[in-house]
């Protein structure tokens, strides 16, 4: 194509058409995951109407809840350029500690719950300390705490703990107006995270950290303080996740509670458009990412697909998303 187009009208026309195609593409790209969730649901629904039954929707909501509670702060953390792999283990530790509190230590319910949450805070604080004070890579630090914390959980509670207070278990499985309590908690966490990111000044700073920590530091932003806050919030959310897991199961199995949750969380967050190096991402995307993964698993289960294949499907979804993103980025840069 030469640049010496003599007639300005067709050039202009072409420009406008190109612009329109690009903006439609952009809209689809911006909501690709929402479109994906929709297609997924319709596809599963066409196979089995059970998929969109009230019971199954409630089940999807319940299963999404704990992942989402952890994924929202994990998304913010990743946006700031750090990652936390220890969340699954933290869920286990918190569940075990609260469980021991209920049973072995005979603590009041509230105290046992607070103890579990405190475990989450402590793991978050430990991760933050090592990353912020000693400048270690968060990947290494939290890979370490992933094993450390799981080990502690299994050490102090080698056998599944059960016989929890009735009210506690009821909360984990009950509903309000048909909505599971867990989902209500998840909704609160999501709204808090979303509003924090969109409206608060430090929410914007989270992004700034991900784009350039140096620039943030030199601009007088409290980089360390914010990093600590995000790690501690993620740890706390994992602690909360542990309590809710115990409430839902009515027991605290130290070796399976929250197992591989860090991978599900990371997959959902990345699927939701948050970049691994930080700087980009949304809470909305994270919600869609979690729902997508859970719906995928649920649909395949209804279709009687072996669990191994639904794990493979999750992986495929992430790779496909990365590929789609690659293509759309290349397209956009070709237009600019």
């Amino acid at each position: 194509m030469t640049t010496q187009t003599l007639d300005p009208v067709p050039a202009d026309f072409r420009e406008r058409r190109l612009g329109r195609i690009a903006s439609v593409g952009k809209l689809a790209a911006g909501n690709a995951l929402a479109v994906g969730v929709l297609i997924l649901c319709l596809a599963f629904y066409s196979q089995s109407h059970l998929f969109l039954s009230a019971a199954n929707i409630r089940s999807i909501a319940t299963q999404s809840s704990i992942t989402l509670i952890v994924a929202v702060p994990a998304c913010l953390l990743l946006m700031s350029g750090e990652v936390d792999l220890s969340v699954g283990s933290t869920v286990a530790l918190s569940a075990v500690v609260a469980g021991l509190g209920f049973t072995q230590w005979q603590l009041p319910i509230v105290l046992a719950i607070l103890l579990g949450l405190a475990c989450g805070l402590m793991v978050g604080a430990l991760n933050a300390l090592l990353v912020v004070r000693f400048q270690f890579s968060s990947l290494i630090v939290t890979l370490g705490s992933l094993s450390l914390v799981r080990g502690i959980a299994e050490g102090i509670g080698p056998n599944p703990i059960y016989n929890f207070p009735v009210g506690f278990v009821k909360f984990g499985n009950g509903t309000w107006l048909g909505i599971p309590y867990l989902t209500l908690v998840a909704a609160v966490v999501t709204l808090l995270g979303g509003f924090y990111l969109a409206l608060s000044p430090t929410g914007k700073h989270v992004r700034a950290l991900g784009v350039s920590k140096d620039a943030a530091f030199l601009s007088g932003i409290g980089v360390r303080r914010l990093t600590v806050l995000l790690f501690v919030a993620t740890g706390f959310a994992a602690g909360l996740g542990g309590i809710l897991t115990a409430a839902r199961l009515g027991s605290s199995p130290s070796s399976t509670a929250g197992l591989n949750l860090e991978l599900d969380v990371l997959t959902a967050v990345l699927l939701g458009g948050t970049t691994f190096g930080g700087g980009k991402g949304t809470v909305r995307g994270t919600v869609l990412g979690v729902v997508f993964l859970v719906a995928l698993q649920s649909g395949l289960t209804i279709q009687n697909v072996a669990p191994a294949w639904s794990t493979a499907a999750k992986g495929t979804a992430l790779m496909a998303a990365a590929l789609l993103n690659f293509i759309s980025v290349r397209r956009q840069s070709a237009y600019s």
């Binding site: 409206l199 608060s200 992004r207 620039a215 943030a216 030199l218 007088g220 932003i221």
Partner: protein, 513 residues
């Protein structure tokens, strides 16, 4: 003399925007050809066409005898076009020799001939007069030495044309002089044509034989440098005069040193016996409304000094006072709380958030101040942005344009301007090499900005520079650093360029260049 490179009617458009409009240029072997132009004039695109990074829409590039309509980076390399960019492409952890042979290792049966590589690399480095050991890892080299490695790397292919894109932007005066010597040596060989891109006119006058000025994608001046004056060049670069105050400051008429404030000023920031690593002891004090220039070579300690004054580098001994009170700053945040802001030299990496909007870049450090009850006030953020845009003559003044899309000058306006917005508590701005790699127009705007802020709101500005002209033009008082010590501290009106250079080289006796 043989023609090394001929560019024939090259055009390039992005969308509707014509970036290059039938540009023709001829460079002969044994010639240093200066390429001048404001940021955004089309220089980078033209160089991109030569290096293979950009595909021209039409026209021809003729290297030696061979004509090309477009080049890929590989073709450019083989055709004999070598480009040295502002940002080097070296791998820091590898040695100079490994870098020079990167991707084309000398190997026998898959085993790299490390010793031969080192010897050959050393020979290449010696040839261009670089005093660098080929065995040293690049990360341990100074910026000037890295540049020498980069040049040695491209010289290995015996290119027909060597293009240097603002080569002295990151260099101190002495290293720049050294580079100039090397280039003159290269010119003498008569086998290579050199295209030299720079904003610094004294350099051009010292080095270049011919000059081409590009403006709005067109070559507006091509001539022997002998026939031209500074004024001619500035006129060609900036185009027809606009009714705009900033242009004045770039013209010789305004090259007068600013008058010194005779009022009794209050000391804003002061250092006593300050020691920072190998730098110091330093004494410095800056009053309100005062602009102080720290002039010195690369490695003279000017950056260390500035960074110690805002909590980036720990102070070993001595005292730092802000508003007369001794302080110990943990980080820039603490400095900012006391009204001291910093503008780093490395704009791209440490200054702006390239992937965020210009509006966010401006508002970021003040979002908390601008917010209400923990909720950001986007309307006020936008007000601040447009205020800063007007203050700094930012163009384009687009709130949501990514800061990375602005020219170097635009980015610097965002970084400096954000501290000067209404309601900002900043009273002292520390600027490290504030005009490095910035075109004449934006440079004038920045000078105007600092001067008027100093005059009207009593801003104190302390800046470092390796350009003596800039120090004389902007500063009320100049401090010269040499090997970590202050060797001169005087009111600008009493100083000349020669004095500055002398002092920065440790006085005439100690000049070892």
């Amino acid at each position: 003399m043989a023609t090394a490179l001929r560019i024939d009617h090259i055009s390039k458009s992005y969308g509707n925007r014509k970036v290059l409009d039938r540009v023709s240029l001829e460079v002969e072997s044994g010639e240093i050809h200066a390429l001048l132009g404001a940021n955004g004039a089309g220089k980078s695109t033209l160089i991109g066409c030569l290096s293979g990074a950009v595909n021209p829409d039409s026209g021809q590039i003729i290297v030696g005898e061979v004509s090309h309509t477009a080049l890929t980076p590989r073709q450019a390399l083989h055709a004999g076009v070598a480009v040295i960019y502002q940002h080097f492409s070296l791998v820091p952890s590898l040695s100079a020799a490994d870098n020079i042979f990167l991707g084309e290792e000398l190997a026998v049966r898959g085993v790299v001939q490390a010793r031969r590589q080192v010897n050959l690399a050393q020979a290449l480095l010696d040839d261009i007069g670089a005093r660098v050991s080929a065995k040293r890892p690049v990360e341990s080299l100074t910026v000037g030495e890295r540049q020498m490695v980069e040049i040695a790397k491209v010289m290995r292919r015996k290119p027909a044309v060597l293009i240097l894109d603002e080569p002295t932007a990151a260099l101190g005066h002495r290293e720049a002089a050294l580079l100039a010597e090397r280039l003159e040596k290269l010119r003498e060989t008569g086998t290579i044509g050199i295209i030299y891109v720079s904003h610094l006119l004294p350099e051009i006058f010292r080095l270049a034989d011919k000059v081409s000025v590009i403006r709005d994608g067109k070559i507006v001046l091509e001539s022997d440098l002998r026939h031209l004056s500074r004024v001619d060049l500035i006129a060609a670069i900036s185009g027809p005069p606009k009714t705009h105050t900033s242009r004045n400051s770039a013209s010789p008429a305004a090259d007068q040193p600013p008058s010194v404030d005779t009022k009794e000023p209050d000391t804003r920031i002061s250092a006593h016996d300050l020691k920072v690593g190998a730098v110091g002891p330093l004494d410095l004090s800056a009053a309100s409304g005062e602009i102080i220039g720290i002039f010195g070579l690369m490695g003279s300690g000017r950056t260390e000094m500035l960074e110690a004054m805002c909590g980036i580098r720990p102070i070993e001994s001595g005292e730092l006072c802000i508003q007369g009170r001794p302080v110990s700053l943990k980080n820039p945040e603490a400095a900012l709380a006391l009204g001291v802001a910093f503008v780093p030299a490395d704009r791209k990496m440490r200054g702006i958030w390239g992937a965020m909007s210009a509006g966010d870049n401006v508002a970021m450090p003040q979002m908390t101040r601008l917010s209400r009850l923990g909720v950001r006030n986007k309307a006020r953020e936008a007000d601040v942005f447009y205020e800063v845009a007007e203050l700094t003559s930012l163009s384009p003044a687009l709130y949501s344009l990514h800061a990375g899309s602005y020219s170097g000058g635009g980015q610097q306006k965002l970084l400096v301007g954000r501290w000067l917005a209404e309601g900002s508590n900043v009273e002292v701005v520390l600027l490290d090499e504030p005009t490095q790699g910035i075109d004449v127009g934006a440079r004038g705007d920045l000078y105007d900005l600092l001067r008027s802020a100093a005059r009207t709101r009593g801003l104190t500005a302390v800046f470092t520079t390796s350009d003596p002209e800039e120090a004389l033009l902007l500063a009320h008082r100049i401090v010269v650093l040499y090997q970590g010590r202050i060797v001169l501290d005087q009111v600008t009106a009493e100083l000349t360029e020669e004095q500055l250079l002398d002092a920065a080289h440790g006085g005439p006796d100690k000049d070892v260049t």
